[in-house]
């Protein structure tokens, strides 16, 4: 029943891929996800998997390979980061619209300009409207566990959508942590065989994929895609339940920490949740009613569930590890704030953009933000809601 090990986030993903033994991997190296295809190529070279490893000449071709292999009837995987995913952009939409459940291990890195290899969420946040399910991980263990759950979610007949499993570049991808691995046989039976109803190589009847879809039909197809994303929510939860039965590890759409009676709450994604949780823990020791919500699933967005979880909160700070240049806040802020709109007693909501291009954020930063939230709750005046923290010229200015 499971085995304890020490692995980096990239190793953990590659190991999960090995256990799943997918049919085709199409991948192109980019920091910090490069190690994933590297580890995997050695599994192929040593005959430990049956996979066709297609070492393509670009990420666009990586996603084209995966799209085509999945349409052909195989299970296809890739790994990438930042500009690599940006080069796949067009194919992200094509893959989602063809309802092909390709799985991507995304190691989040700042989307270039100027070039930067460190972590933020600008790559996946930019792809939030591409039709992919997005699951984020705080730790190596979560990256591994989320990856094992990705295919049962994406391949579910009510869903049939591609899934990206995200983890923070370098922070978890390269840091070695304790991890509990699931036995190979358990992974295989949990993930199961990929048995699509229709595929290009099916002997009985032919299939045509990727039509020119005129306005008489396009909207129906987009509506079906939207419905599939709605269906994904319950499938994510039922898959998490089965996963818990197998491993004892519990997953949901988001994780709540000390939210029962919280008056000030943070909403955050990814590895920085660990830092924020420590701040919340310290403040709780001082008797302050603080809580934390860590988003695991950003697509589909858990709108009603988030509203319910924050119905009793007085002030919320939404933490965005991505700029969207809207001039009024980051992407997570826009959606969380929208989620809270229907509450009878709406909390005040502010936004902090943090951690861009690998900029550090510390426990003290989060303590300060909690302090600001109590001040806002007391005065009723949120001030400027669109804020940045950790940059040189201004420490979380109001």
């Amino acid at each position: 029943m499971g085995k304890k090990d020490r692995l980096s986030g990239n190793e953990a993903i590659a190991y999960a891929m090995k256990q799943i033994n997918p049919d085709v991997m199409g991948a192109f190296p980019i920091t910090p996800s490069t190690e994933i295809p590297q580890y995997f190529a050695s599994y192929v070279a040593n005959g430990e998997v049956d996979t066709e490893f297609v070492a393509v000449e670009s990420e666009h071709s990586a996603m084209s390979t995966c799209y085509a292999a999945q349409a052909a009837g195989g299970r296809a995987v890739t790994a990438t980061s930042s500009a690599g995913m940006a080069l796949m952009w067009e194919m992200l939409y094509v893959t989602a619209s063809a309802r092909l459940p390709v799985t991507m291990a995304l190691v989040n890195r700042a989307l270039t300009g100027p070039i930067n290899i460190n972590n933020d969420h600008s790559d996946s946040m930019g792809a939030r409207d591409s039709g992919w399910i997005q699951i984020y991980s705080e730790t190596n263990q979560e990256a591994y566990d989320n990856y094992i759950q990705a295919m049962p979610i994406g391949e579910n007949k009510e869903v049939r959508l591609p899934v990206m499993v995200c983890q923070d570049g370098f922070i978890t991808s390269h840091a070695v942590e304790n991890i509990e691995l699931i036995d190979d046989e358990d992974v295989k039976s949990f993930v199961g065989e990929y048995n699509p109803e229709n595929y290009l190589l099916k002997k009985e009847n032919t299939l045509a994929v990727g039509p020119y879809d005129i306005s008489n039909y396009y909207m129906e197809h987009k509506k079906q895609q939207a419905e599939a994303m709605k269906n994904a929510k319950s499938v994510i939860l039922s898959t998490a339940k089965k996963f818990e039965e197998l491993t004892g590890r519990k997953y949901a759409l988001f994780e709540e920490y000390e939210m029962e009676d919280a008056e000030a709450a943070l909403v955050i994604i990814g590895s920085s949740a660990g830092t924020a949780r420590e701040a919340a823990r310290r403040l709780r020791q001082e008797g302050k009613k603080v809580g934390l919500i860590k988003i695991r699933v950003f697509r589909p967005f858990p709108m009603h569930e988030l509203a319910a979880a924050m119905s009793g909160v007085k002030a919320v700070a939404v933490m965005d590890k991505a700029e969207s240049f809207s001039a009024c806040g980051g992407p997570l802020f826009a959606e969380v704030r929208s989620a809270l709109y229907d509450l009878k007693n709406k909390p005040h909501v502010i936004n902090y953009v943090y951690g861009l291009g690998g900029r550090d954020i510390c426990v003290e930063h989060f303590e300060m933000i909690y302090g600001q939230l109590f001040e806002i709750a007391e005065t009723g005046n949120p001030g400027e809601v669109y804020r940045h923290i950790g940059q040189r010229e201004q420490e979380g200015g109001k």
């Binding site: 199409g26 000449e57 071709s61 084209s64 094509v94 290009l200 002997k203 045509a208 039509p211």
Partner: protein, 309 residues
């Protein structure tokens, strides 16, 4: 068995009528010609780059393709065909498939010479067992006759118009067939629609049934873009070959072979005269353009002969 077009035409059609391509479209002739070279018992998966052929043959909910077919985008027919072929290899190895499938990709010169060149080069270098067929009509016809790197020098295209100062395209046509031959792949050939299609058919057959990656470049004239009378397509192709504008050759395992040498060369002028896209070359004071075009054809021919010796 000796080649017979009549017998070939008795095979079941794999590209059904009713598609939306223009009357006399070279792309459709290329597709039908290539698919005729498949053994009727073999299955195929067709990949198609975005372009005239794709938008005219697979409009939801109709398809003209009897075989399985996949389109993804403009610049990636190579990688897409490679992805299907990779899945085929592993599924066959796992015993999930037992039939023989062949993999054929079609792209125009836009999707092949230009935006899809990287993807094509990658797929060929990786050695996928597939054929990439370029239906070369020498411009981006789907978006309205814009110049491509395959458009010949001086041709009038909508982004290289024959103006009063600049008269048509100022660069020569890219020699893609030679670039593909330089990949050192199993089979590369250049052909077009000629006589009873013997040259075309034999090359398509070799391309499909030679193991490993193969590339077929088919001059596939476009009556709208080249501005000739639709019924003259065979004559246009004949003149392209007789003038040596489009020589017939093949490269198998690195050995270059000229498949046809005209006894008496037709001047390139005769080929150009038939096409509206070269109309401005026949204006007064533009004789130098025809001379230069002829000189270029002569030089390319000599270079080809040297490779084929």
């Amino acid at each position: 068995m000796a080649y017979s077009l009549k017998q070939q035409l008795e095979k079941p059609e794999r590209f059904a009528g009713g598609h939306r391509l223009c009357a006399g479209c070279g792309a459709a002739i290329t597709v039908r010609g290539v698919l005729r070279a498949l053994k009727p018992e073999d299955k195929a998966v067709i990949t198609n780059a975005t372009g005239c052929l794709e938008v005219s043959s697979f409009l939801y909910p109709y398809t003209a393709w009897e075989d399985s077919y996949i389109h993804s985008a403009f610049e990636n027919a190579g990688a897409t065909a490679g992805g299907v072929e990779a899945a085929y290899r592993v599924l066959k190895r796992k015993g999930k498939i037992d039939e023989t499938f062949k993999f054929i990709a079609f792209g125009g010169d836009g999707g092949t010479y230009d935006i899809g060149l990287q993807s094509l080069s990658g797929a060929m270098e990786r050695g996928h067992d597939m054929v990439y067929v370029c239906y070369d009509n020498e411009a981006y016809m789907n978006t309205g006759i814009q110049r491509s790197s395959s458009t010949p020098k001086f041709a009038d295209a909508t982004t290289s118009p024959a103006g009063s100062v600049i008269q048509g395209k100022t660069q020569n046509k890219k020699d893609l067939t030679a670039i593909m031959a330089a990949h050192g792949i199993s089979y590369v050939a250049q052909t077009t629609f000629l006589g009873n299609f013997k040259d075309f058919h034999e090359k398509a057959e070799k391309a499909i049934y030679t193991e490993g990656p193969a590339f077929l470049n088919v001059m596939s004239p476009c009556p709208r873009g080249w501005r000739y009378e639709t019924e003259d397509i065979a004559e246009i192709c004949r003149l392209a070959v007789e003038s040596r504008v489009w020589p017939l050759f093949e490269v198998k395992d690195g050995v270059w072979k000229l498949n046809y040498e005209p006894k008496k060369w037709t001047p390139v002028e005769d080929y150009m005269k038939k096409q509206g896209r070269f109309k401005h070359l026949f204006k007064k004071d533009n004789e130098w353009m025809i001379e230069e075009a002829q000189k270029y054809v002569d030089e390319k021919w000599e270079a080809l002969l040297a490779k084929c010796k």
